[in-house]
Subunit: 271 residues, 2 copies
């Protein structure tokens, strides 16, 4: 391919080699690493330069212990030496409006989405920066399992919330790269098309069942016997179970139906 | 710093050198570049491996022309040889639930947020991949200015929408790196703190006013004379104007107050 290698290759390789690491050594991060990660995070694009996010660096063991509980008991939150929490933030923008004596009027879903996207872009840069330094990293969306308790623990003011955690540390056990849906399921030319969808899903489902990805991790449904054989439990069944009947599935696969209520009580509008 | 250089440096440098390019040559992308960008995008983390997004690759000039109009007349959408549209997507997940004969129950804000974050992470990887190949790239959030028209043009099914565009191409005019808020405004240790906020905002405001970032780009407010002097128009005033009185500011700074209504009409729930 005539695409330049050289300088490009490390970044592309870094991205395509991504695998979420969930097992960390207790060693602290190398000196200087956290600052580099934070600067890389802040270099991500931000909509209209609003920079509508904050990052909480959690290092104290007791606070990580409590966060691990709030994240449904995820051991990696306890084990990793540094846990970053990416928070969409319109608190700072409200301050700027007060400072300039102009009423803050962005009380729409758009503002929530913009701030959440800003935080997500910064988080992805942080993850890649950590991996480029040889560290392991894993997003932790389960920080949304108990949104009010996380707001309280991190003293998040009105107009902020915890979108995702990012566990960082020296790798104790490397993960394997997880296969993705065939590209034709994700990418459409000129306009959306359903045509390749079922074929791609069926292919991917077979791959995930054959590689026994879900051994011991079935989502159980109340009142149903467990799936008879891991060979027939693939991505489609795992995914469908996660997205059904919230009252019957495990807390670890929570649909987080309280999120809207908690966010509205904390200064976010969804008009 | 004892942090390893070598393999790490290119990816870190790539991120910290980011500057959104808005001016493209009409040359097509180098052979192979688009595939590499798409594979990098797909390698981004995805919550619970739901892969809840799609990417529309728009190359046809007439379609880019129409999209440029819908994005408020942004010339880069017309000029760039390839425009990627990142779409949060629960349409595919609904198909998977039907396929497995399980009712799709994830009708909550959480699902909208999860899908939007998946799409944002993939988009950031695509942007970095393009930049690593020496191409220019710029996110285009103005694709949310006219969400229903974009849905129609790209034939997006229920349960999808256009979160952001990404203009890609050979750089015609390089942009400068935009200064960011002092890191102490963004990063908090152990818990959120307001203490450094005003001082950091004031410092940043001076930097942005002194570098004349907003010359010729003031957000005008109906019934007010223009700001008297660019030296006193910095980030704070520009930002406050963008976030105030939606009926008086220019469409290019729209608060997009119709987004919720359009998304609810297209299969998204925010309970």
């Amino acid at each position: 391919m005539p695409v330049p290698a050289g300088a490009a290759a490390p970044a592309l390789d870094l991205m395509t080699r991504h695998a979420s690491v969930r097992s960390f050594r207790s060693d602290p991060l190398p000196a200087g690493a956290l600052d580099r990660i934070l600067v890389a995070a802040q270099s991500a694009p931000t909509s209209s330069n609003l920079q509508a996010y904050s990052i909480i660096v959690v290092s104290e063991p007791a606070r990580r212990e409590r966060l691990a509980e709030l994240c449904g008991g995820q051991a990696m939150v306890r084990e990793c030496p540094a846990f970053l929490v990416f928070c969409p933030d319109i608190h700072r923008l409200r301050h700027v409006c007060r400072r300039q004596n102009r009423p803050f009027q962005a009380r729409f879903l758009e503002m929530f989405l913009l701030a959440s996207m800003d935080a997500a872009l910064a988080a992805e840069n942080a993850l890649l920066a950590a991996e480029s330094l040889g560290l392991g990293a894993c997003f932790c969306g389960s920080i949304r399992n108990n949104p009010q308790e996380v707001i309280d623990l991190l003293r998040l003011p009105e107009g902020t919330y915890a979108l995702t955690g990012l566990a960082l540390g020296q790798v104790r056990r490397q993960s394997e790269i997880k296969p993705r849906l065939p590209l034709r399921a994700i990418v459409h030319r000129e306009h959306y098309s359903d045509e390749p969808m079922e074929d791609a899903v069926a292919e991917y489902d077979r791959v995930m069942a054959e590689t026994r990805t879900y051994d011991g991790r079935h989502v159980s449904i109340a009142g149903e016997p467990p799936a008879p054989d891991d060979r027939f439990y693939g991505w489609a069944e795992h995914t469908a179970r996660r997205l059904t009947r919230p009252e019957t599935i495990a807390a670890s696969a929570s649909l987080r139906e309280n999120l809207r209520r908690v966010l509205e009580a904390n200064g976010w509008s969804f008009a």
